[in-house]
Symmetry: C2
Subunit: 141 residues, 2 copies
């Protein structure tokens, strides 16, 4: 590897780092309008999923599916929205948003709909305490 | 299998069927604002990727990655947008949109931005003639 992975500064600015999965960094988007999580493969120089090695693509899928199933159940949502967009931040990152038929943007996709509603530091601590032990047990090493 | 797969009527209404990959039906969204393609696994009763058997999840990923790489090169785009949303049509379907920094909605996601600009039947015939032979050669049986 000629490059070392570093998290894109805008992603870092707009989110809270929760934990590392085997391949990806797990971020919480700093917008309390939705339970919104982001997986970022810790591989330098990647902007599209197909650019990852096939083994890493499969690992990303595995982490995405385990995360999606966990989040939908944990938050009791109606639908997962899973998306790799990257028009603004090119570094590959995969959004996972728990949607509710009662949420502020339903049924539209969330991007560009509403201003972000940042979490308080107490909210973040409470979410970490609630989620991190469960996520660690869901995700195989 | 207790159910037989049938394409959701709204998806059918908003798109043109192009071909069948090993797992998925490939649709062209009827909106000429963007090269916009949709993969629909031919499995009944599925709304989330994680609900597919793991082998089918891997096959969906494979078809998605081959399609994404092909489309980005074929259309000379700047970015792929790949998304499983499903807030309106619950049947699992995976959007693949070739984005250009000059397109009508850039850098926003496309959903809910612009009215669809339907293709003419001549446009559709020309796209099929251009794409189908290449897609058949890209996608292993």
């Amino acid at each position: 590897m000629s490059e070392t992975f570093t998290l894109d500064p805008q992603l870092a600015n707009d989110s809270i780092e929760l934990m590392d999965f085997p391949l990806c960094k797990l971020l919480l988007a700093n917008d309390s309008n939705y339970p919104w999580f982001i997986l970022v493969p810790r591989v330098a120089g990647i902007t599209e999923m197909f650019q990852l090695e096939w083994e890493d693509q499969q690992q990303l899928l595995n982490e995405s599916s385990l995360l999606s199933e966990f989040l939908l159940q944990e938050f009791g949502g109606d639908k997962m929205n899973v998306a790799a967009l990257g028009n603004v931040v090119a570094q590959l990152h995969l959004h996972h948003v728990v949607r509710f038929s009662t949420d502020i943007s339903w049924p539209k996709p969330i991007w560009g709909q509403q201003d972000a509603a940042p979490y308080s530091s107490e909210d973040i601590d409470a979410l970490k305490e609630r989620l991190l032990p469960k996520l660690a047990s869901v995700m195989p090493d």
